[in-house]
């Protein structure tokens, strides 16, 4: 049986059982491997994607529960906020092994969409579900603040 969803703004039909976690539908059926497996129980955040703009853990989300909805993965991250986050990540060289970073970036995009000028406490709340074993937390925090500045600058420039 197949499930239809809007993956990165394109309607796709995935030939998967309905209760398969979205993560595996994305990685194995759609072939998008930027979204990672880390724990399978919504503890690490490596599988974070956006469902209609909200961050969710795709490893515990049955694919049929998102049928017809808009799912955004790192491959589809676009727009002012996403570009600002990715630029900040590069500018500060946040990554080390990089495995968790797709999930970190998706969580950061969602945070900045909600709160354009997040405080450190906002960052703690939004990012606590994303584990990084390399310990890039110092730079993730700095990059989120930097992305907020970049985005603000661009918004002004566009006016």
């Amino acid at each position: 049986m197949s499930i239809s969803l809007r993956l990165n703004n394109r309607t796709v039909k995935l030939d998967v059982p309905p209760d398969v976690p979205l993560l595996w539908a994305i990685r194995e059926a759609a072939g998008l491997t930027g979204t990672k497996y880390g724990c399978g129980i919504a503890q690490c955040g490596a599988c974070t994607v956006l469902l209609e703009g909200e961050p969710i853990r795709s490893c515990v989300t049955p694919v049929n529960s998102v049928a017809g909805k808009l799912v955004t993965t790192i491959e589809g991250a676009s727009g002012v906020t996403a570009r600002a986050v990715q630029r900040a990540w590069e500018k500060l060289d946040v990554v080390q092994c990089g495995y968790c970073q797709s999930g970190q970036i998706m969580s950061a995009i969602a945070l900045l969409e909600q709160k354009p000028r997040p405080t450190d406490l906002d960052i703690d709340d939004a990012m606590n579900g994303n584990i990084c074993r390399c310990g890039t937390y110092v730079r993730i925090r700095a990059a989120i603040h930097e992305a907020a500045r970049i985005k603000e600058g661009q918004t002004h420039a566009e006016r």
């Binding site: 998967v16 059982p17 398969v20 976690p21 595996w24 990685r27 194995e28 059926a29 072939g31 998008l32 491997t33 930027g34 979204t35 990672k36 497996y37 880390g38 724990c39 399978g40 129980i41 503890q43 690490c44 490596a46 993965t73 790192i74 491959e75 991250a77 990715q86 990540w89 590069e90 060289d93 946040v94 990554v95 080390q96 092994c97 990089g98 495995y99 968790c100 970073q101 797709s102 970036i105 960052i123 703690d124 990012m127 606590n128 994303n130 584990i131 990084c132 074993r133 390399c134 310990g135 890039t136 937390y137 110092v138 730079r139 993730i140 925090r141």
Partner: protein, 748 residues
């Protein structure tokens, strides 16, 4: 310039090669057949195709410089570091530099400290520094010779800067790419001059962008778990519930009825279920019925193993270090201090669990992996498949963290590929539960320390007994007089000048699998030594900083010493005097040591030398009324010789603080009747964003050859935090992890 393609994999390059016209260019490599013949035999390899891999760098007509990394990239920055070294001597522009993983070729790409191709021991930069500098300098000399020939000018009048060769008098210039083909036919110079470090431009630059940043920021970086080859199946392995158990019989009838399951086969470590997808493999594995042979299994739990350790702790062990007469000095001491420390098993918990893909045919085995032991993977695969090592092709990919975990080989997946007769390629990976329950762990260790002070409060005796499994096992290259050098690293070579020292070791053989874990023995020895030294300073009524500094005024080697270690390790066992004191003084100055702090806050210090690098840290903590510990700030000083990429060093230091804090605050793998009690990140907790302290890093300027970083950054944070908690509360936890003991009041 877009840099999405800055990192190409060897395999991808081959695919491209079939479609693109072979382009001429310069390829430079050195052939060093024996490790002792380092540069004695130097053979440059010129190929007329840029796709030829056996070299350290290529300059292509499109003006790209591709550095071939003999070391794996698992986050530690090896790709960027090795590329920096070549780009420096080549005078390349950083924007033209790419990097790719070397294929398996142990003659060309061996680790000069290991003798085989592999990454580890924090020596990627250290063992490659001279080699990669020469590769870059040789390529530069050949490009200059090509330009001189073309322009008919003396080569001495040609300058090179940011990828451009210039002849000022005739106002001619050319890019590397324009001269690549001509340079390929220039005779290889027998000798090249390396730069004076004073003239370095890229090495030591405050922030040279990482070459892997963009690909890892856009989700494009490929890890082994992401690899897909046509017709590939997914395999999961059902491993035994007890370490050491084996398959007696198994029934896969229900498994094979699961839609998508292709096969179930027995391998040496258990039963592998092969399926069309991960969910199908998981369901198929759940449906297996396996009867295990437990006759050789380890059924003891952690309490029983501690009992065995405690029994050994009362007996003298194999002596790792004996200076003077410790027993006599303790007997005449006016004051003695004693303490015991317990360290649990620790999992590596890399974010990417172990994964590898194998495609096997009658005469070739292709392996896609992030494993760090390339020669080991190749040898194992050749043995299992009855192929030659040359028939085993390794495609090294990014590793999603390593920390000592990624030297485990790919035997399981090769066995699966063989068991299914190579009918289809197989990707095998471990679920998080497989990983936490089936890791090879940092061993448990039990330490007992005794110190003696004389009337003036001088430390005159230091006795340290260590009990714990040997990660090097029975390897005769490393075990001398019963001493596994890694078990006593950071303990038998403490940096302090103490007249009488005795360090001994018990290495019980248990059934629990163990492995090196980021910083190996230093991970527990630094904690025991540096917290106990604080206790001794406290007993002597001295400030911990001043007490340490006084013990670092003399070179610790400046007296008769009996220290058991392999000869080849002896030169690096102690820091060049007075490096350790220098990092201590720097961190003391930068942290504001000695200034007052509000109530419930404390400052703690630790110094540790490992992987030939000296690190000192001061941690500031706040202890809540509930006993909860918040680490607010960590100030670090490091001396690692020439700092190739200062920003990578800072990043490693930040990460090392997080990794060390995870372990000392929460890390513990425990066994109940032989079964691991933890299974995932919910019960094997690691540090999260809200617990991360601010980290400040100060790097000591140096012209000395570069030394380790990746592991050296881990050991000091634990004792620095423990000492800060002691400063804030007067409480000391000696049974790790700190939680829940610190809140349960289990303190000494």
């Amino acid at each position: 310039m877009r840099s999405d393609s800055k990192i190409a994999s060897a395999s991808r390059r081959r695919f491209l090669a079939t479609g693109a016209a072979a382009t001429a260019g310069l390829v430079v490599g050195f052939y060093a057949p024996k490790s002792d013949g380092f540069f004695a035999t130097m053979l440059a390899v010129n190929r007329d195709s840029v796709f030829s891999p056996n070299a350290f760098l290529r300059v292509a007509p499109d003006n790209t410089v591709t550095v071939v990394s003999k070391h794996a990239e698992g986050g530690q920055g090896a790709y960027t570091g090795l590329a920096t070294i070549i780009a420096e001597e080549l005078d390349a522009d950083w924007s033209q530099v790419r990097v790719e993983a070397a294929p398996a070729d142990r003659d060309l790409y061996k680790n000069l400290q290991f003798g085989s191709q592999g990454t580890g021991g924090s020596n990627s930069i250290a063992n490659s520094y001279e080699q990669y500098r020469r590769a870059g300098a040789t390529a530069r000399a050949m490009l200059v010779a090509a330009a001189a020939d073309r322009w008919r000018v003396p080569s001495g009048e040609i300058t090179v800067e940011k990828g451009l060769l210039r002849h000022a008098a005739s106002r001619r210039q050319a890019s590397f790419g324009k001269l690549a083909q001509a340079a390929a036919s220039v005779p290889v110079p027998a000798q090249v001059t390396l730069k004076d470090p004073k003239n370095f431009k890229l090495i030591g630059a405050e922030h040279l962008p990482r070459l892997d940043s963009r690909t890892k920021t856009t989700g494009k970086a490929v890890f082994a778990i992401d690899v897909s080859v046509p017709d590939m199946a997914i395999a999961l392995v059902a491993r035994p519930p007890f370490f050491g158990a084996t398959v007696k019989t198994f029934d896969a009838s229900k498994t094979k009825a699961v839609p998508g399951v292709l096969d179930a086969v027995q391998i040496s470590t258990g039963v592998a279920v092969v399926a069309k997808s991960f969910p199908a493999a998981q369901r198929g594995r759940d449906a297996l019925r396996i009867e295990w042979d437990e006759s050789k299994a380890e059924h003891r739990g952690t309490p029983e193993l501690w009992a065995e350790y405690r029994r050994l702790l009362e007996q003298p062990g194999s002596v790792a270090r004996r200076d003077g007469d410790c027993a006599q000095a303790l007997a005449r001491a006016t004051r003695t201090v004693s303490a015991t420390f317990e360290f649990p098993y620790l999992a590596h918990a890399t974010m990417e669990p172990l994964s590898a893909v194998v495609r096997l045919s009658a005469n070739q085995c292709d392996i896609w992996t992030g494993d760090w032991d390339v020669s080991g993977v190749q040898d194992d695969a050749a043995r299992i498949t009855d192929l030659t090592t040359q028939q085993v092709h390794i495609h090294t990919l990014y590793g999603g963290g390593s920390f000592g975990r990624r030297g485990s080989g790919a035997s399981e997946v090769v066995e699966v590929a063989k068991a299914i007769g190579g009918r289809f390629p197989v990707k095998l990976f471990w679920t998080r539960e497989d990983d936490v329950r089936g890791d090879a762990y940092r061993p448990m260790y039990l330490h007992k320390l005794d110190a003696g002070l004389d009337e003036q409060g001088n430390l005159i005796a230091w006795q340290h007994r260590i009990v714990g499994q040997s990660v090097l096992g029975g390897d005769p290259n490393w075990i001398i007089n019963g001493i596994d050098i890694t078990s006593v690293a950071g303990a038998s070579n403490i940096p302090y000048y103490i007249p009488n020292i005795l360090v001994d070791l018990h290495s019980p053989v248990l059934g629990v699998p163990i492995e090196k874990w980021r910083s190996v023995g230093n991970s527990h020895n630094a904690f025991a030594v540096e917290t106990f030294l604080d206790d001794v300073a406290h007993a002597a009524g001295r400030d911990p900083y001043q007490f340490r500094r006084a013990l670092l005024m003399k070179d610790p080697r400046d007296k008769p010493m009996q220290l058991v270690a392999p000869d080849r390790m002896k030169p690096g066992l102690f820091a060049k005097f007075p490096r350790d004191r220098r990092v201590l003084e720097l961190v003391g100055e930068k942290s504001g040591w000695g200034t007052s702090l509000p109530p419930r806050k404390g400052r703690g210090l630790a110094v540790h030398y490992s992987f030939r690098t000296s690190v000192a840290q001061v941690a500031e903590v706040t202890v809540g009324s509930d006993g909860g510990v918040k680490v607010d700030r960590v100030v670090c000083a490091v001396d690692c010789g020439v700092a190739i990429n200062p920003d990578v060093i800072r990043a490693q230091m930040e990460g090392g603080v997080a990794f060390g804090l995870s372990a000392i605050l929460y890390g513990a793998i425990t066994l109940k009747n032989g079964k691991v009690e933890q299974s995932n990140f919910d019960d094997y907790r690691v540090l999260r964003m809200n617990e991360m302290p601010r980290v400040e890093v100060h790097i000591v300027g140096s012209d000395e050859p570069p030394t380790g970083i990746g592991e050296s950054v881990v050991p000091p944070i634990g004792p620095a935090v423990s000492n800060a908690i002691f400063a804030a509360t007067g409480k000391r936890v000696r049974t790790l992890p700190l939680y829940p003991n610190i809140q349960a009041g289990e303190v000494q």
